[in-house]
Symmetry: D2
Subunit: 246 residues, 4 copies
């Protein structure tokens, strides 16, 4: 519940490093830089860092994670290139209390699928449709200060069936021009870690420049931040405990 | 889990008895008769009865309820005319195990609001929009045999925010031409009773003639049916029980 | 998520005003005073008030409630004496966003039963058993700083079946000397209001003097506090809204 | 919802094949045989098979799984010996609709941890304590016909914190002589598959000979059985679907 002090935005950064002109036109310094800039507006006293796939250990070393309160994850075409060893390390930190925000096409990341246990598949179509993001949970802290619906003029469509376990909290449901619907803002708890998946945001549309979207991400970071940075994966085992009955 | 033997379809029957030509053109014998006919197709061995507001005790006497496995409730303009004493009686039977399906504008019925504790208000607009009913819970028995989405050519729009508690199961989410979304198929458990709310179905559109809708209602009735007709409202109190410790 | 500024502790105060010596021996100024003292330790900058059944309008006027962020409710033998009009008023404020903590025998209060829709009955036995309160939700803010289990040397036993809807969050499960178990810390959301039920605490045992119990209550108050004191019962209706499609 | 026709009971069978006298005294033909015998009492028309770790492909070939409606899993000391390839195969079948019952020390099996995403660790102590299994969900089909509590005279203690995601349904909570509590009967849905974890049952105590335990397992099998044996892992992707808007 404490304000997050160390936030880390991870991006595979593949579209950008390949020189995709559409993406670079919208996110000249990479999606991660835009997301980080939005978070700095909301958390002026926090340290907001970024890391990318090509960094050593993907920028996700034990030391970095141990200092991170909340990690944001954006990936798309390079999920398979993330090393399993790093995924296991991130997972351990989430189970131990680190907050995790999984964004848009991150639904297919190894870390998300490993934490949820399902395929995390969904329906999709990229034709620049309007997305309306409706709030169905008005007192949830992640929805604080957000008018319903958020209107995103152009977006990739993500539709049901979204193959996830029943979320702890359903906060946002989106509709698209084509008529599809999507559970676009959902939370999960795994171990001591809080996870928020938020689907709006694509490399081809300027979604992460939109003020309401930045507010949702900031709310999500605040919600997911742990009370303490000390990691404690649940593991009680068979302690030499005296019976309460004795 | 046993197949329901006694099903009761309740309808306020006010639009029909007033002689509303639109409604009678679609439901010449009343909405309840059409719903009951659909259920008889699916439960040929069950007894499917109907009751209306003007029946004595609204057709919901102690004797009738004691024999009812599942009650379906359709109301719209006469919620206030349902006697509080009858509402309490129905509630007692639901808490004791009777299944309840609340349909469409029944969201504002006294029985639904009393069981859920919220206003059950929602956004609405009646302009004959297309409704798409998407399944987000594919292995739920209420969705069995239903292709997603169900397409309803013309419907009243019901939109979020739907002021209900978090449902036990979210099965269907609808979108409408105007872009709104709605949690259109949701379940709740109260006491020993199972409750299914399903929004598609209006007096001005032939929704209850549609085969998929009839299938959903039949699935809902089967799901809500109790294992036994004996009512047992939870009430454990302070029995003269010996300690397990002694 | 803001820190609560105005907290109101309500107690029927009947055992105390009757002069029950056991109760007055433990709570000489009433249970409400002890609970309020505990909250003042945790919220030195907040205003913590108390109100009792014999106050005008039970001390729960429209003006008082409009200023209250979180209301705590303790009742036992006088549930029936609380006026229905006041219950409806409190309920409207909860649905509009006021936090509510329902304590111990408050499970049978009109306000709790009205918000939950069930009988809220449970198993009970008063023989001074030891209660162990186990945390099953370690990252929940209501459990922050609490070692598991909390040991309460002597308590009234509350056991399952506790007839409540499935809670949003299950935080604590208790066991008792006799072997019974009880969902002793559970949350619900109704409308915009957050509700926390916490069972430890009886008029015959000094539970509200125990530091861990005071911490749980403070955590609960912080969790239940709304983002804004402006009440807004969900009621969207049929606004003159343009279609998003147009 | 159809009655299961093909049930498969899997047991690592290591205690038994090692010749552990305590275990063989209680389960002379292996734990799997006793569990299977109990299921045959409840499903006389079904085929109940068994498989063990030393079978080829652990007895869990593609062909076998394709015919299986519900798989029961008992493992303890040999979790690490189950091949990852087989675990992935079982997982695919669960996501595609096969029911899964995970029993007792199976909480640490690869398949359970992979489906849930958490450590699934718990507190334990083996001193032959009495376990009381309380029903907190009286209308759940898995509790049908079960008196609360089930009394198990001697058992290994499993206690909280049980590191699992919030279950879809919480059905049973146990207490032990030592005062610990445990969420001993919980359900999850992953993909199209239904999962029931039930903790009572150890190799050193005759729990699977007890009639109430056998009834719970049979209820669980009936609840977890899919509507169809055709496996369909959710994977909607980007079908050549026309817009509903067009």
């Amino acid at each position: 519940m404490a304000a997050p002090q160390n936030i880390l935005v991870w991006n595979e950064n593949v579209h950008e490093s390949r020189g995709d002109e559409t993406v670079l036109g919208i996110y000249p310094d990479g999606i991660h830089s835009t997301i980080a800039a939005g978070l700095r507006e909301h958390f002026p006293d926090a340290t907001v860092r970024t890391a990318v796939l090509t960094d050593e250990e993907h920028g996700l070393s034990e030391e970095v994670l141990a200092q991170t309160d909340v990690l944001l994850w954006w990936g798309h075409v390079a999920h398979a290139d993330v090393q399993d060893e790093v995924v296991e390390r991130v997972k351990r930190h989430v189970l131990g209390g680190m907050g995790l925000l999984v964004l848009h096409s991150g639904h297919f990341s190894k870390i998300f699928k490993s934490l949820l246990g399902t395929t995390c598949s969904l329906l999709w179509r990229n034709e620049g449709e309007r997305e309306l993001v409706w709030n169905v949970n008005p007192s949830h802290p992640i929805a604080e200060g957000i008018e319903s619906p958020i209107v995103i003029p152009q977006q990739e469509m993500y539709g049901e069936l979204f193959d996830i376990p029943t979320p702890d909290d359903l906060i946002f449901i989106s509709s698209f021009t084509g008529g599809e619907v999507f559970r676009s803002g959902v939370t999960f708890t795994r171990g001591r870690g809080r996870i928020f998946y938020f689907s709006p945001g694509d490399q081809e549309y300027p979604v992460y420049h939109q003020a309401e979207i930045r507010r949702v991400l900031a709310n999500g970071v605040r919600w997911a931040a742990p009370a303490t940075r000390t990691r404690a994966v649940p593991d009680v085992g068979n302690p030499a405990r005296e019976w309460f009955a004795s």
